[in-house]
């Protein structure tokens, strides 16, 4: 299992557009991926669940990945949060 803390570097937070990209990215991996904010954890496959967490710019979230391709998935998702998110 890989657990990573990430800061949201997009000023408007995780809006519909980045969440769409994130879900599609997560779908490409076999591992179970979930996202945790505060005491709430949701699976990274539902737009509604992620949006309902209201994740804002500057907040810290935790990504938990468990499965056979967790290393690759973790690298891709870290890249999404540190690089791609800024341009979405």
């Amino acid at each position: 299992m890989v657990t990573t803390n990430l800061i949201i570097l997009a000023p408007q937070g995780l809006h519909a557009r980045p969440v769409t990209a994130l879900i599609r990215l997560a779908k490409g991996f076999k591992s179970n991926i979930s996202l945790q904010k505060g005491d709430k954890t949701v699976k990274l496959n539902s737009m509604l669940n992620i949006l309902s967490l209201t994740i804002k710019g500057g907040e810290t979230i935790t990504i938990i990945i468990d499965g056979e391709d967790e290393t690759e998935a973790s690298a891709a998702i870290n890249h999404f949060f540190t690089e791609e998110l800024k341009h979405l």
């Binding site: 800061i7 570097l9 997009a10 000023p11 408007q12 937070g13 809006h15 519909a16 557009r17 969440v19 769409t20 879900i23 599609r24 699976k43 496959n45 539902s46 737009m47 509604l48 669940n49 949006l51 309902s52 209201t54 804002k56 710019g57 500057g58 800024k86």
Partner: protein, 567 residues
């Protein structure tokens, strides 16, 4: 009638009313496992055809913007959201609801969740959920895809609210604006209107019901006013207003995307002076490429105590985030002089401008300084922040300030807090002694920013607040010009950036002169950017150099100003 203007502009046209038919629950229950199986299959089929419908809009609408595309992609994700399916299946299997009822309840539930959220953006997402629910529902009923509405030219759409599907189906060549009863700054209708640059007013309330098809409508999305069948006088007035607005918008827009490059290829960076994150929208609207001066005094004013590190951190973080990766030069606190804080008692001085102010206070009150530096450093991971020290008069002050900055970094390291260790450090050049020793100071810093207001007042020994001698305050005095030119020249020699953030940077008379000296970064109030940009793009570096050569030979500012006005 008044609403919220969400996309400024003026539209005059005829009303077209879009009404929604609401589907109601039937209450019919399913009978037996066979029907349940059929109901689930119906739902899955409806979702598949709804997704296909959106896919086909994507393929068949060549005029879609990036923004429309993103909205459609989001719709596809929402349509196939596992939470929706789970809830629908649950209602079908354990409550024996029919597919349509199960879907209606599920959607109503999610809509309510979003509508009750605190965040305005998230509240507005209720409309997206409703929209995809309606789309699945439509595909359940086999009613086939919606017809593309045929609009007449100059149509103004009037609706209770507009869904993403409605707005994407709008033929923008015919629709010139819209007004809705519901909606907010962050609703879809608002986002689409802004992206397409058509005037829109949302949140007009129930009065909008009175409008009939083909009524003459004026939308003043600047003031938020809607006029229904206005009289000739109002109509005439608005025809003029509309033309003036359109012409200005075209001019500004034409300049917005044009890079600030001279006819012979000299590139100039135009940035803005701001006091907080809220100013940034205006900066980008005017074509600014970053922030040349973030004043931090606002943080300290209108309160009873010094702001804490965390409060300051939030302020810098917001600014860094809103700047979207563009550089932001943060000037450390400049108090003293004419700026006083009620909770920080500074004794009255005979010559406050020559007294205890800015960096002098900071080096003396290390506690205040280190708090600010730590907050800036912590925020530096959220964007491209740089630190600038004001009122530097000698090299020792730079070294002291930098060593306190290192202490701040060390404290953060100990606490395990992230920051950019290579953050760029610069100084204001606003004291003559700093200008004259620019060659020495340049070795200590990454950039200079020339503050012409103080540089002028100190060079000429003129108190700029004193009306009696205000005529002596003169940035075109050859002494001031020589100092500025020297600083620019030394910066270039030592390969460090030199910018200007004083009022002179926004003075159209000075633009060519400063470019001729070699200045490549101008920072000013956002509203001044278009005017300065238009000077840059219409002139050459060659001409600018000639202007400076000519001015160098003149001995008085009267002569210089006379000459500059003539070119």
């Amino acid at each position: 009638m008044k609403g919220i203007g969400v996309s400024p502009g003026i539209a005059i046209g005829r009303a077209f009313i879009i009404q929604k038919k609401a589907t109601v629950a039937t209450g019919i229950l399913l009978n037996g496992p066979a029907e349940i199986e059929v109901a689930i299959a119906q739902f899955d089929k409806a979702v598949t055809s709804a997704v296909n419908e959106v896919e086909s809009i994507k393929i068949n609408s060549p005029a879609l913007s990036d923004n429309d595309f993103a909205i459609l992609e989001t719709q596809i994700e929402l349509l196939s959201d596992p939470e929706i399916r789970e809830s629908v299946i649950e209602k079908i299997e354990s409550e024996h609801k029919n597919t349509s009822d199960a879907l209606l309840e599920t959607i109503a539930g999610f809509v309510q969740v979003f509508e009750s959220m605190e965040d305005a953006y998230m509240r507005a997402r209720a409309a997206d959920v409703q929209d995809i629910g309606d789309r699945i529902l439509k595909n359940l009923g086999n009613s086939g895809p919606a017809n593309q509405l045929a609009f007449k030219p100059d149509t103004i759409i009037i609706a209770e609210d507009l869904s993403p599907s409605d707005t994407i189906a709008m033929d923008i060549t015919k629709v010139i604006g819209f007004a809705t009863q519901a909606g907010s700054q962050t609703s879809h209708a608002a986002i689409i209107a802004k992206a397409r640059g058509i005037p829109a007013i949302v949140g007009c309330g129930a009065d909008l019901i009175d409008i009939k098809n083909d009524d003459v409508i004026i939308l003043d999305a600047i003031s938020g006013e809607v006029f229904i069948n206005p009289n000739q006088q109002i109509l005439d007035e608005y025809l003029i207003k509309r033309n003036v607005y359109q012409r200005r918008a075209v001019e500004l827009k034409a300049l917005h995307d044009v890079p600030a490059i001279t006819t012979d290829g000299m590139q100039i960076t135009l940035t803005a002076n701001i006091s907080g994150a809220g100013d940034l929208v205006n900066v980008f609207d005017n074509g600014g490429e970053g922030v040349g001066l973030l004043r931090t005094e606002l943080l300290y004013m209108n309160r009873d105590t010094f702001p804490t590190e965390d409060e300051q951190f939030e302020f810098y973080k917001n600014t860094a985030l809103q700047a979207k990766g563009k550089p932001v030069i943060v000037r450390t606190i400049d108090i003293g002089g004419d700026k006083h804080l009620p909770y920080f008692n500074l004794p009255a001085e005979l010559n406050p401008f020559l007294g205890y102010r800015a960096i002098r206070v900071c080096l003396d009150r290390k506690d205040l300084f280190i708090t600010q530096l730590k907050a800036i450093l912590r925020a530096s991971v959220f964007g491209d922040l740089k630190i600038m020290f004001p009122m530097i008069s000698n090299i020792q002050e730079i070294r002291s300030a930098k060593s306190i900055l290192e202490e701040a970094k060390e404290e953060l390291r100990k606490d395990g807090l992230p920051f950019k260790s290579g953050i760029k450090v610069g100084i204001m050049i606003e004291i003559p002694s700093a200008a004259i020793t620019a060659d020495l100071l340049a070795k200590e810093v990454d950039f200079f920013s020339i503050g012409t207001n103080d540089l002028c007042q100190y060079t000429l020994a003129v108190d700029r607040m004193n009306d009696k001698i205000s005529h002596l305050y003169d940035p075109f005095n050859p002494a001031v010009l020589r100092l500025i030119s020297f600083v620019i020249e030394q910066g270039a020699k030592q390969n460090i950036h030199v910018g200007m953030c004083g009022e002179m940077a926004a003075d159209p008379l000075a633009t060519l002169l400063l470019m001729g000296m070699g200045l490549k970064e101008f920072s000013m109030s956002a509203a001044s950017i278009p005017a300065i940009k238009s000077i840059i793009i219409n002139n050459s570096e060659l001409k600018a150099k000639q202007v400076w050569e000519n001015v160098k030979a003149m001995d008085s500012s009267e002569e210089i100003l006379e000459y500059l006005k003539g070119i």
